[in-house]
Symmetry: D2
Subunit: 387 residues, 4 copies
């Protein structure tokens, strides 16, 4: 018995595209009762032409330039918030108040205050909700988590994460506009901290538990850029790079770094964990690979034969690996887009009585707290506790 | 102005699924006039339950267990042949005679004789046709070809290819049935030669020109297996492994190997070319990577600075790379399935006045000739010329 | 005309062995006038048996358990200080006052105060001196520096370094004694900061210029260990791990981390630099490899062809690479030990009118300042300027 | 009680240098009774200047340009044959007849006939003898053999080997002379077959047992080169490349390839073995690494947990790894030269009652038989049995 799930997509940019694709794909690969339908999409009036093309390409029935109207419609079951960060707060709250299921792109909000209000709204409304930290559903990252949970790492000493890219190095890159709103602090809230480190922090706490305190540093390398909307050279307020040291509550310690100025790194979202029994390393540039160092048996703690230890390159495409039995055959990779498909598959399952979906907005609020603490520490040049 | 393109899918197995997905995806990523519609699908009566599920999942309007009827329907524009190898011949010829556009999975046929008749049929009918050697549309493989064509390799000395897997090592794997018909010679024609080496040969000749002669060796490691249809232990006739040496017409020489007994290799479709000016290496287990060794300038032949030569790991996800501007952003990979999407995008473009699609059946006939020569050489223990 | 260079080796442990080997090897591979002679060696009376074996193995003529006597001998030209850290200060000063050429293992001293006195002594005596930061003479690291100096990296944005190992994770490892004095703070001064980070800092400032300020964190995971000398469980005072953030004077920023608790990492001395024109990465576990990302021409700043950028794995064994023309042929690696041989080759050259050897003690004092600032910052939980 | 072992070195080229170094090093790292002494060396009268420099650099007491005189001296215990291939036969036989211990560089001889006579001579004389297939003593290759012998690979299906280089691609490289005698068939006997494939074959049979039959192909890409001795352009008779298919007696099959025209490959001596229980891969360009795929327990045959299989990169520098406890500490690599040191350490041990050294000349004769069969097969274009 299939149930239609009418979706209102807010946003017709990169993320609107990624989510639309995943909603269309999910039933082809995962057995779910809900059948997502791309019912309506929203974009700004000034982006009308792009919006119409977007709707035509993905098959949206309704096109709308007033998002409040769209959210209020009776024939909408789920609102998917893919607009820039500064609109998340209002869109999510309105959707929750209209009783819709709410999906929101990360980072959840511009800051903790906004995020708290959003969590209050969805929890008051009692609506199912998710935040799209899609990388948790990269099969190799899900396997990373599984191996830690199986006790194969043991007592953790170290965690280290980077999320490095290189696409804004040139002075000629403008800020603002549809494509580069991430460089405009009024729209994005922060720079790499909300954009990239939010992923690193979400993954880190999911895998290694809460961060207790941080000391951080941020840097803006290019301090003035032409604004795409005004055409004028304006001050750049976002952080081009952010790095911090962390104490975790479990006694382990960590380093984090994120930047858009790491020449040569395209999507270098890496993290490594080292414990007494083993270690793991992941790099999003080779998303189908998980590196695992087995040192001791997870039950007995007994060492592996000494001449046989080494970093193991697990090709995460076996049927036994998370999500992979739904896709192709061993040896065949899935792509970036399927992190969204896997996410929606799990989210639909949770609507159908499966395990509660994580991260929801409450969980994403936690990540927001760490992000805010990081930025606060960087401003003050001091260690800051996560509240 | 969009044109509906009604598709009849013959086959509801692994390839039927891969093709269905690609037909649905192609318009979302590539601007094409033709709009593929999954109109009808065929499966065997004994697979009825699976067929119905397949149709429901992918949205086929019509389900049919007599392929000849399906091929004859007026409302079908294109027949996509994804049934096992032994049916290719009849299906393709019937489709051509019915004036349909024909798509056929590789290998084209059971042998050269069949393939010649198929080519004759499509050419007589004058119908557009393609054979799904999908790996030509892995962006990194397309880039491999492009770099060779740019003169960056120079005079070629060596070519070497492997296509190694490990999934049939156990005696417990049966032959035949829906999943393992590739082990049944009556259905598959040959073992790894048609299944895997056909890919290696298609790519090799596309990149490095015609093979002149070969000396080959085949091996069946497990010579008896239970047959899934009869339940009886029967002789295994297919080649579990095949290896050959080759002379190319351009004066270069090559080694080829394929097996399903290479423990540890899942989808190890690799090839390397070495010339006086450069070299390239590709491995399908890391499909987003192309390794390039630059030695000399393609125009002048002048050496690169000596202290700066090394194998370069190109992350083939930039907008400048083949197909990638249609997908996501630099650093984001696409998966196995999109080798089919890219193929159909090019095939539709060729229907719309773009470059003639390759490989068509005539081109695949050539690959069949090499496969047959390889098997013939293995039987006779001698060098064999490709006719 | 060859000149004998009589060497007094202080220390018969791991470093005594590495230096002895390198003194014997240097003339076989590098044309130098000086002929090092292993004249005398010193070890503690309680290590007499080991000392005698050491002398026999390496061919030392004289064995001595009073280092002051050895340093004072007329027939000694050069004193090589390979004893534990807490003895560096007295040995170096005595050697300088006796007018000997002085070689000292790193870290230079227990702290800046000691280091300043040592620099004052060698400079007052006017004796040639070197500190054995041997990794500068790994060919791939020398090439790293060369490529930066050629302008191929351009304006630097980021520097990141780790030096991670895993050999002290077990509670059963004792502190102190001949082998594990590095765990005893009275002998070693500090833990990973002096042992491993000193290397990272020396290399970082050599390549990327002075560090301006740091914020650091240290951790001792196992806080009590049996002492090998006393047999009693005693408090462990050294840092098992140290991590810090840094600002460089050239406007770039950096992360540094070192630990002996990174399960799976044996000798993971890595560093990466990212500039607008290129990037480099090195990992001491693959010491013959340098990874280079070329983005733009060093002279013109013009971008490389977009479809050809990628990390290049330079096999640093060509005749054109630093030091390599003195060893074997392209493709043949040298080992860990030859970082010392290369160092002594350069040091002898500097005695013979070649370029002044770096790092000397004044240069190593600078590294000591950064180490002390790091430890100070970790104690105080604040940013600290390097004086 | 140490025993002097007076060595006569025949040859002062690349191999003379590598062997001299190893004789001097062996006692520093391995406890052996024999103390090799570099007593005398031989070179041609026309290379007198080079010979004198060689003797001075390595400390040879005696310099001689008549090798027969040298071999006959009473004060020589061991003759080390490092002259070009065409002299091996006479030198070895003379040394054996003079009752000397004989060491010979590979390949043993110009052909099987010569090799048989040499084996007869050393066996008649009853002198200890070794052939320097030094790569057996790369620690990672010794570990490869050990893991196979531990039953961790199980029933073998495949073996594949390459030994590819790129240093003779240019037309400007001359043949003949001291450096490039390997291109002169009268001196070298064959091209890559004796030079490179001999290594591959020695390793293959050592690890995987005897080869039963082969079909081979050889190629000379540049057919005329200036001769360094005569100054004239002369025909090139050696094989620039050689490739062959093989059946092993244990039922497994193999591919072999060697060339000096594989642009980008410097010392690409690789081999892989695939069995039902595991697989191994080695590449001499990363000599400290062994790749191991564990699939099943060597005793029980039970599969490893499915989600944890992957190629493991063993950093072969632990104390538990072959030879490594004699060198430095885990994480520290040794270089190319120490394959010779390890070889001499084992050879001296065999003189002192340790395990019989392999490969001796009888064992190397076997490799010669395979090489001759390969060349014969290439000439005749047919499969050839190894006698």
């Amino acid at each position: 018995m299939s149930k239609r799930l009418n979706i209102a997509m807010l946003g017709c940019g990169f993320m609107g595209r990624a989510h639309s694709n995943a909603w269309l794909q999910v039933n082809h690969f995962f057995p779910r009762e809900h059948k997502p339908v791309l019912k309506a999409c929203y974009g700004r009036e000034e982006d009308r032409k792009k919006l119409d093309e977007f709707a035509a390409r993905w098959g949206y029935e309704i096109v709308e330039t007033d998002w409040r109207k769209l959210v209020a419609r009776d024939d909408i079951d789920l609102v998917d918030v893919c607009v820039p960060n500064h609109m998340h707060h209002d869109c999510v709250i309105a959707a929750a108040e209209a009783g819709k299921i709410v999906v929101c792109e990360k980072p959840l909000a511009m800051n903790v205050r906004e995020a708290e209000e959003m969590v209050a709204a969805v929890e008051k409304a009692g609506v199912p909700n998710m935040v799209s930290f899609n990388y948790r559903r990269v099969p190799a990252i899900a396997l990373f988590k599984q191996i830690v949970d199986e006790g194969r790492i043991g007592q953790v000493f170290h965690y280290r994460a980077t999320y490095n890219q290189d696409y804004t190095i040139s002075q000629d890159v403008p800020q603002g506009g549809m494509a580069l709103w991430r460089l405009d602090s009024r729209v994005a809230g922060s720079g790499v901290t909300g954009d990239l480190l939010a992923h690193s922090i979400d993954t880190a706490e999911w895998i290694n538990g809460p961060i207790r305190r941080v000391t951080a540093y941020t840097k803006t390398f290019i301090t003035e850029r032409r604004h795409a909307d005004t055409g004028k050279v304006e001050k750049v307020d976002i952080d081009d790079a952010c790095m911090f040291l962390a104490e975790f509550e479990n006694g382990s310690i960590g380093t984090f770094e994120s930047t858009r100025y790491a020449r040569g790194r395209k999507n270098y979202n890496t993290f490594e964990i080292n414990g007494d029994r083993g270690a793991l390393f992941f790099d999003l540039e080779d998303p189908h690979i998980l590196q695992f160092f087995r040192y001791a048996d997870p039950q007995t703690g007994k060492k592996i034969e000494d001449h046989l230890t080494g970093w193991q390159r697990i090709h995460v495409t076996n049927f036994e690996h998370p999500y992979m039995k739904h896709w192709w055959v061993p040896g065949c990779t899935i792509g970036y887009e399927h992190t969204f498909t896997n996410s929606f598959a799990d989210f639909l399952a949770s609507l159908e009585g499966g395990p509660k979906f994580q991260p929801d907005m409450r969980s994403a609020l936690r990540t927001q707290r760490v992000c805010d603490a990081v930025l606060d520490s960087a401003r003050r040049g001091q260690w800051v506790e996560i509240p």
